[in-house]
């Protein structure tokens, strides 16, 4: 029969503890070996350039004579004074585009998650597939859609909407292209999938029975949405707005292709300083400030939205 005796707690046992051994120590190193190449890549080609750029932004000199670190902080002040309007415009355009993306994307994500039934996969493909055509080509297509002699402009004109939008500075009185509306429209279009996919992921996890339960507990459909669905989808909303706002605020393609010089964003300035004017310290200072502004806005936003589930 089985024999048993439980030794009193704390009594020394005769068998020594198992030694950790070399195998265990080697096992401890495994995660570091796995991380090494990837993290090294990011350190060398992502972190180091950031640091390097920070130092470039306080250098003076020219391409011919070479650059020296002179702690020339005036570069920042000069750049900001000269281009503050561009920063403001970038943030406003990106903000409007983000709100529009949420307004357009939420019903679509909601429909795919709860109402699509067997069409769910087809709709998802329809959201993702356009992506595979180069976004520059698709952005250029908006030139055709919004062309001065196109349907959109003539309809808006007939309905006298253009006059109204011109009054608040969104468009000019006879055209949409080369106006703020065209740029915002392009930004919204370009970053819409970045909004829809996180929204869909967070909505899809919601058990449809929660809707029934809310209905059973006397909530009207809209109350159900306000009190149950939307709060649960909040992580998706936060992720989606960030994934839209951050790239939109640094974008220069929509302003370049669909706007005129008076719609230029900060991205356009950095791009031309870097690639055309070759004023590297100013380009570095401008992009550093853009990064700082975005980091501040994002961290305030995350705290306000009260969610940390982003990664």
């Amino acid at each position: 029969m089985a024999a048993i005796s439980t030794a009193p707690a704390g009594a020394p046992t005769e068998t020594p503890p198992v030694p950790p051994g070399r195998a265990a120590r080697r096992r401890k190193l495994v995660p570091y070996w796995l991380l090494l190449p990837g993290i090294l890549w990011l350190l060398v080609f992502f972190v180091a350039p950031m640091v390097y750029q920070a130092s470039t932004s306080v250098q003076t000199g020219s391409l011919e004579t070479g650059y020296q670190v002179t702690w020339h902080l005036a570069t920042y002040w000069d750049a900001f004074k000269e281009y503050d309007l561009f920063y403001l415009r970038s943030l406003i355009y990106a903000g409007i585009a983000t709100v529009l993306c949420l307004a357009i994307g939420y019903p679509l994500a909601y429909t795919i998650a709860f109402k699509a039934g067997r069409w769910r996969n087809v709709l998802l493909v329809m959201v993702i597939a356009p992506f595979f055509t180069s976004f520059l080509i698709r952005t250029l297509a908006w030139k055709t859609i919004l062309a001065d002699d196109g349907i959109v402009v003539s309809v808006l004109d007939k309905l006298h909407i253009l006059n109204a939008t011109a009054a608040i500075g969104l468009t000019s009185s006879d055209r949409v292209l080369a106006t703020p509306l065209a740029v915002v429209c392009g930004l919204t279009y370009n970053f819409l999938p970045f909004m829809i996919l996180p929204l869909y992921t967070s909505l899809e996890r919601i058990d449809p029975r929660l809707h029934e339960a809310a209905g059973d507990l006397y909530a009207r459909p809209f109350t159900t949405f306000r009190k149950v669905t939307f709060p649960i989808s909040l992580p998706g909303v936060v992720a989606g707005t960030l994934l839209t706002f951050i790239p939109a605020s640094g974008d220069y393609i929509n302003a370049e292709l669909l706007g005129s010089p008076s719609e230029q964003m900060i991205g356009n300035v950095i791009q031309s300083k870097f690639l055309t004017v070759l004023d590297y310290p100013t380009a570095a200072a401008l992009s550093f400030m853009l990064m700082a502004v975005i980091l501040v806005i994002v961290s305030v936003y995350i705290r306000k939205a009260g969610t940390e589930e982003l990664v």
Partner: protein, 390 residues
């Protein structure tokens, strides 16, 4: 004993292929938390052994140390004659049926079952796999993926996948936890049948006392990292040695009593103005006259009589008077809760042979039982230990 890589194809192997498991001073701690107190335990070859306890009592940790999935803080694990303490899981002659089965989702039933054989370099697995699938009655579904099987079928695949390797010991971690009640009963009998057929040592971890009692030859009741008591199911049930076992394994009425004397093989106890008799041999506490002791009796051993019939109760039986506060009719029996001045909420299960319809709540009654069914426990313990809170 070495693993036989070219074992005969018949799953009905010789009855003595199991190995004994010997744990010596084994313990497991994580920082300040002690999951398993140092314990010595021998599980005999070929037995069906159950580790029974509530969640967090250390039973699963003990099992995982046998499997090699957890490294003991101290102590040794031996299987048969071999010390396996330092061996990784894949070098131990044991196999595990995991909680929720852990079937490989990307492999079908056949490949799941063949997995262990292939890893040991066995080329022709067809016959063995087919025979094993027959044994668990899944011969018709070899190409199904795990997610296409019912819970009971998945469970049988998990058993087949482990057994095909002819381990010396099969470890089962709550193998029936995910099944519904009816299927669980059915699988209990099935597992018992398979164990008898293959004769391998089974070590079974469960929190379900009925499951443990149905299947195991020997049960070890674990609590807070220790083994409270070990023995055959009936022995544990009839002779609990601690309040935890008395309450966890079935239900017990425990009465705090004082030892007033002895007579022959019996101890005489007093409870208020009543008298009880307790066989000395059935007392786990060595009590002197004047000491307190807990007298216990199982609810189904008690007879219940209307107070008007008190005179009909034969002499020499332990008697307690009280008043019914609740009666629930559950078909085969009626369960009464009786309040008596010295022991509140006494449980009584009465078979519905000739039901006395006068026994309704509020009725004064006499409870009586054969003194031989009384057991004695040390009064210094927590009287409510191991009670299943409703």
């Amino acid at each position: 004993m070495t693993q036989q890589t070219t074992a005969p194809a018949e799953p009905q192997a010789s009855a003595a292929s199991g190995g004994a498991v010997t744990l010596t001073g084994i313990s497991k701690t994580w920082g300040d938390f002690t999951a398993v107190q140092p314990l010595d335990l021998t599980i005999p070859e070929g037995s069906f052994f159950a580790l029974l306890g509530a969640s967090g009592c250390g039973k699963t940790t003990t099992l995982r140390m046998i499997a090699g999935l957890e490294e003991p803080t101290a102590g040794t694990v031996r299987i048969g004659d071999q010390d396996v303490t330092g061996l990784p899981p894949h070098k131990r002659p044991v196999n595990t049926v995991f909680q929720n089965y852990a079937l490989f989702p990307h492999l079908d039933v056949y490949e799941n079952v063949a997995f262990g054989l292939r890893r040991r370099g066995i080329k022709s697995v067809k016959k063995q796999v087919e025979d094993m699938l027959e044994l668990v009655e899944l011969g018709h579904l070899p190409r199904r993926k795990p997610h296409q099987l019912s819970g009971g079928q998945q469970q049988r695949v998990a058993v087949a996948r482990a057994l095909i390797n002819r381990p010396q010991v099969l470890l089962l971690d709550e193998p029936l936890g995910a099944l519904d009640l009816k299927l669980r009963r059915q699988m209990q009998l099935e597992l018992k049948r398979i164990q008898t057929e293959v004769g391998i040592t089974f070590v079974h971890v469960t929190h379900d006392q009925e499951e443990a009692m149905t299947m195991a030859d020997t049960i070890a009741v674990m609590n807070a990292g220790r083994i409270e008591q070990l023995g055959a199911p009936a022995d544990l049930y009839e002779n609990p040695t601690s309040t935890f076992v008395a309450n966890f394994l079935g239900q017990s009425n425990l009465i705090e009593a004082q030892v007033t004397g002895s007579s022959g093989d019996d101890l005489l106890l007093s409870v208020g103005d009543g008298r009880l008799t307790l066989p000395t041999a059935r007392s786990a506490a060595t009590a002197q006259i004047g000491d307190k002791v807990l007298a216990g009796v199982r609810p189904e051993k008690i007879s219940i009589a209307h107070a008007d019939d008190a005179a009909t109760v034969p002499d020499g039986r332990n008697k307690i008077t009280g008043r019914i506060i609740d009666a629930s009719f559950i078909g085969v029996s009626t369960q009464y809760v009786v309040n008596s001045p010295w022991c509140p909420e006494f449980a009584v299960f009465a078979q519905n042979v000739e039901r006395d319809t006068r026994l309704t709540p509020g009725t004064e009654v006499v409870l009586h039982w054969n003194p031989a069914h009384t057991f004695g426990l040390d009064a210094t313990q927590d009287i409510e230990a191991g009670e299943v809170s409703a």
